[in-house]
C-alpha cells in the first residue's frame, strides 16, 4: 500500500537530520582537541544530502526521500597557534587547533533540529490520517 511511503520519506529525512546532529555534536565535542601535528588534527565533518534517486524514478517521479551520500571533512586548514608553554606543542612551539567553527555548528544544530521536528510532524499527521482511513464507513 502506497500510503506508507510517507513514513519512508519522513523516516529517511529524520535519519539524515539525526546524522547531521550527531556530526554537529562530534564537531563541537572536538572543537578544542589540540594536537601537536597538523596531520592528526580533527577536521570538521559535514554530511552530504541527496535525493533518493531510485524512489524518484519509480512512481511517476513523485515524492522522494533523502539519503546521506557521505560525510566530508572540511578543507579549511587547521588553526596553527604559537604556544611553546603548551604540553602538546611541537619542536617549533606550535599547537594545532581543529578547523571547527562553533558558531556555524550551533546554527547547523538549530537547522537540523527544526528540520527533524518538521518531519516528525509530517509523520504524525500521516499517521492520524491513516488511522482515520481505517475507520472509514463506521
Amino acid at each position: 500500500m502506497s500510503s506508507f511511503k510517507v513514513f519512508d520519506i519522513a523516516g529517511s529525512a529524520m535519519g539524515a537530520q539525526s546524522l547531521r546532529l550527531n556530526l554537529v555534536a562530534s564537531n563541537l565535542a572536538n572543537a578544542d582537541a589540540v594536537t601537536s601535528s597538523i596531520n592528526q588534527t580533527y577536521r570538521a565533518r559535514q554530511p552530504v544530502f541527496a535525493t533518493e534517486l531510485q524512489s524518484a524514478l519509480d512512481q511517476r517521479g513523485a515524492a522522494a526521500g533523502v539519503e546521506v551520500r557521505g560525510v566530508v571533512e572540511s578543507q579549511v586548514p587547521p588553526r596553527m597557534e604559537y604556544a611553546p608553554e603548551h604540553p602538546l606543542s611541537n619542536a617549533d612551539g606550535y599547537i594545532f587547533r581543529p578547523n571547527v567553527n562553533t558558531i556555524e555548528e550551533m546554527t547547523n544544530m538549530l537547522s537540523a533540529s527544526r528540520s527533524y521536528q518538521d518531519n516528525v510532524e509530517v509523520a504524525n499527521t500521516a499517521k492520524q490520517l491513516l488511522l482515520q482511513t481505517l475507520k472509514l464507513g463506521e
Binding site: I9, F49, S111, D118, T125, L129, L136
Partner: protein, 132 residues
C-alpha cells in the same frame, strides 16, 4: 437493481487517492528541505481534473531508433509540476518550509474532508441496504 459502487461513491475515492499522493509529494518536499539542488514539486489539480476526461492524452516521446525504449512508467505525468520559489536559495533548493507546512496542513484537512464524504456515502448505502 444492483448497486454500482463506482457510481454510488462518485468522485470521492479518486479525490482521496489524489490527496494521498499529494501527502507523499509534500512530505518529500519537507524531507528534502536541506538537500542541495532539490526542486520542490506539487500536484496540479487543474491538470489532474482535465486528465480525467481522457481527451488530453499524455505526450509520448517518439521512437526514432531501433534501440530506443519507453520507460515502464512515465517519469512524471503532466500533473506534477515544479514550484516557483519566491526566495530562491544559493544551493539551488526551492523548498520553502513554512509554505510547504501550510500546504501539508491544508492537504490533511482536504484528505479528512474527502474521507468524511466517502464515509457518509457508505453510511447512506448501508441505510439503503437495510431499508429501515
Amino acid at each position: 437493481m444492483a448497486i454500482n459502487f463506482d457510481n454510488a461513491l462518485g468522485i470521492h475515492p479518486l479525490a482521496l487517492k489524489l490527496r494521498e499522493q499529494r501527502t507523499d509529494i509534500l512530505a518529500g518536499n519537507l524531507a528534502n528541505a536541506d538537500t542541495p539542488n532539490y526542486k520542490a514539486q506539487d500536484l496540479d489539480f487543474q491538470t489532474v481534473l482535465k486528465g480525467l476526461d481522457r481527451s488530453s492524452a499524455p505526450i509520448k516521446p517518439a521512437l526514432t531508433q531501433a534501440n530506443h525504449q519507453l520507460p515502464a512508467v512515465a517519469p512524471f505525468g503532466p500533473e506534477l509540476k515544479y514550484r516557483i520559489p519566491s526566495q530562491p536559495s544559493l544551493d539551488g533548493n526551492t523548498v520553502e518550509t513554512e509554505r510547504e507546512h501550510l500546504r501539508f496542513a491544508e492537504n490533511a484537512v482536504q484528505y479528512q474532508a474527502s474521507l468524511q464524504f466517502l464515509g457518509s456515502k457508505f453510511i447512506g448505502l448501508k441505510t439503503a441496504i437495510k431499508g429501515e
